[in-house]
């Protein structure tokens, strides 16, 4: 029997929710632990971070100098590096400090800012090293995580839908909350993966899976404006868990210029 692939799970600046998604696969967890060697996973396993990883799952964004060095070390010791979640793929909610806010934020929160060391910006893992696959979402979908693990074990590419949340919503047969109820919804520009969760709960999508490819954000903003949303509110809607994703950041800035 060939040795099991070695898995490493790594945390950068984050809430731990995406790596927790693995522990939330309650029915599959012991099977996953049987199929893979969970060699490093500090949240769940007491073991040293040594050696080479066949798969590295990386959660969180880079916000300190130590993290900026650490990601290169992980990359050098990993065959396949996968970013899991909005922080790792675009910087996360903490990227709201980018654009010159960092020093002010530090002073606002801590009486002795000099005792802390952080970078000016929170950045995506792909700003630092090559990334082989990414899972979107704040948090990721555990179904996508299991698909990714199964695909890597089988040596095939993971099947993760590239289309918009809006299409998932149509496929689920849900009534459009924007057309029928006039609720603001980012579904048309947001990457699929959640199963169009929010519209199923009578709420507009708030974009936690980040921009889909070729997102027409300007057109959506015009529609949101027609529903009565102010430019400031539209800018805020694009400035949450994927605020540093280029398409969302550009649209928020465009709204700010109005």
């Amino acid at each position: 029997m060939p040795p099991r692939p070695r898995l490493g799970v790594f945390k950068f600046s984050s809430c731990d929710g995406c790596q927790l998604s693995l522990l939330d696969c309650e029915r599959e967890l012991l099977d996953v632990a049987g199929a893979l060697e969970i060699a490093y996973f500090a949240e769940a396993v007491s073991a040293e971070d040594t050696g080479h990883y066949d798969v590295a799952l990386v959660e969180g964004s880079v916000t300190t100098e130590a993290e900026a060095l650490h990601i290169h070390d992980i990359r050098a010791r990993s065959t396949t590096l996968v970013t899991i979640g909005a922080c790792a793929t675009s910087g996360g909610i903490q990227a709201l400090k980018n654009g010159g806010n960092a020093a002010g934020f530090l002073k606002m929160v801590y009486p002795t800012p000099a005792w802390l060391h952080t970078l000016e910006s929170a950045t995506a893992i792909s700003d630092h090293v090559k990334v082989d696959h990414e899972l979107r979402g704040c948090p990721i979908s555990k179904h996508q995580l299991l698909e990714l693990i199964a695909a890597l074990l089988a040596g095939r590419r993971p099947q993760t839908e590239p289309h918009a949340t809006c299409l998932e919503c149509k496929l689920a047969g849900q009534v459009c909350v924007m057309v029928a109820e006039g609720k603001p919804c980012l579904g048309p520009v947001t990457h699929a993966g959640c199963g169009a969760l929010c519209p199923g709960y009578a709420r507009g999508c708030y974009g936690c899976f980040g921009p889909k490819e070729t997102a027409n954000t300007a057109s959506l903003s015009a529609q949101l404006g027609a529903l009565g949303e102010s430019p400031a509110r539209i800018a805020r809607a694009f400035s949450t868990f994927n605020t540093n994703a280029p398409e969302f950041r550009a649209e928020a800035e465009a709204q700010g210029d109005d």
């Binding site: 950068f12 984050s14 929710g17 005792w115 959640c194 929010c198």
Partner: protein, 430 residues
């Protein structure tokens, strides 16, 4: 006199990034530091200028394990600011949602993270492989039942999407909850087995005379509502945290710590809730606690593994009771009219009292935010535990001392992501 330094560079099996440093001279602990180096994410700063309605979703991203707690404290604080009264069905469903989070968070910690310490294993996977697979499977199924509550009511397990100021976007259907009830009933005997197993463990014999703080409610075990009480006689409204406690910064932690206004350390969490609310546990939970030899007077923090399972059993039984009593209301949320004002609220997160306070301007935007998570409050007591318990191991090996130190920290299920990033912005203004 032997001098030694024990350092653990990265604590494992905790949520977030922390370390520990202990200096001993003979049998004296001369320094005990629980160091939190989790990078700060500045939530209290980035909330400024955001809409009141965004606080629940933004603050849930502080912690992937207890997002419901952040959502609950946030919406209660906003409702206090605007004078919004919630409907009985909303009150019930919020409590149900909180039960789900207590179950998933408590079982995650008790069995997946903490239990390996008691038997000398490095993970629950090793525990399962070493003849305890039945136990780990039982625990995972109970955890799943908790997560099922959160995902049916909240939309998904992590960062649920259904909570809003005034109520929910959509109230659950009775039919969906009826199916959930069956799953919860099936989980109860498994939770009892896990609880009884934790009571059979070899527990280090240590205790201290803690000041314990939690919410207290006359009719129910506290989650969303109640007065703030302590074993030292405190009894105040739950929005008055700042009158009795304060935060402060230490150089070795990126998380602010907290103390009472006289400078004393205190503890929040399961031990505090049991001490102040034992009589309002569900019948099954009280019985199981009795069988395990646990009552309101237990002050051994190494028994918190069983205390978490007692609260898990309570949450399962309470969730069943809530589902049976549930009648969907006419509307999913009470109307909200934002206005300039201040609102604060504390609720009971799995790890203890979580306090939020917001100042809102006339446009409904947040101008100031303060968030005090349980782990911030527990840091000084955790360090005091290390100073009190480690001298008993003075002649022992470094490995034994390190093991007890790590286990003593895990007693508190420290949520380091939660703890890092918080402080009252007023320190600046002063």
């Amino acid at each position: 006199m032997t001098e030694r330094r024990i350092e653990v560079g990265l604590l494992t099996r905790v949520e977030g990034e922390g370390a520990v440093r202990i200096d001993m001279r003979g049998d004296k602990v001369t320094r005990a530091e629980f160091r939190i180096f989790e990078p700060p994410r500045f939530f209290e700063a980035l909330l400024r200028g955001r809409g009141y309605e965004e606080a629940a979703d933004i603050t849930s991203r502080i912690c992937g394990i207890c997002p419901v707690a952040y959502q609950m404290s946030a919406v209660h604080a906003m409702e206090a600011a605007f004078g919004v009264g919630i409907d009985p069905s909303v009150r019930l469903v919020r409590r149900l949602l909180y039960c789900g989070e207590w179950i998933e968070s408590h079982v995650l910690h008790a069995i997946l993270l903490h239990a390996p310490d008691y038997l000398g294993y490095g993970s629950a996977f090793e525990l399962a492989a070493a003849g305890h697979e039945g136990l780990v499977r039982d625990a995972l199924e109970v955890k799943e039942a908790g997560n099922r509550i959160v995902s049916v009511v909240g939309g998904r397990e992590i960062h649920p999407i259904n909570v809003r100021v005034g109520g929910f976007w959509k109230l659950p259907e009775r039919r969906a909850l009826a199916a959930l009830r069956e799953e919860l009933l099936a989980a109860i005997p498994k939770a009892v087995r896990v609880l009884d197993w934790t009571a059979s463990l070899d527990i280090p014999d240590h205790a201290r005379d803690y000041t314990l703080v939690s919410l207290w409610h006359p009719d129910e075990y506290p989650m969303n509502e109640g007065r703030l009480r302590s074993t030292a006689g405190l009894d105040c409204a739950n929005d008055a945290w700042r009158d009795h406690f304060e935060e402060f910064q230490v150089p070795h932690s990126n998380a602010l710590q907290a103390r009472d206004r006289e400078g004393g350390e205190y503890l929040v969490g399961p031990m505090a809730r049991l001490a102040l609310n034992f009589g309002r546990l569900s019948e099954g939970a009280r019985e199981a606690a009795g069988r395990a030899g646990l009552g309101p007077d237990c002050r051994n923090p190494f028994r918190t593994i069983t205390m978490r399972m007692v609260e898990t059993l309570h949450a399962l039984e309470e969730a069943v009771r809530l589902i049976e009593a549930y009648q969907p209301g006419e509307r999913s949320a009470a109307p909200v009219e934002p206005r300039a004002g201040v609102g604060a609220a504390a609720t009971e997160a799995p790890r203890g009292t979580l306090f939020h306070r917001y100042e809102i301007d006339g446009d409904g935007l947040i101008t100031h935010a303060q968030i005090v998570p349980p782990t911030s409050q527990n840091q000084p007591a955790i360090e005091a535990d290390l100073r009190a318990f480690l001298p008993s191991l003075a002649g022992r090996s470094e490995a034994e001392i390190t093991h007890l130190a790590e286990q003593a920290i895990r007693n508190y299920d420290p949520c380091i992501s939660c703890a890092t990033h918080f402080l009252d912005l007023r320190f600046l203004d002063a």
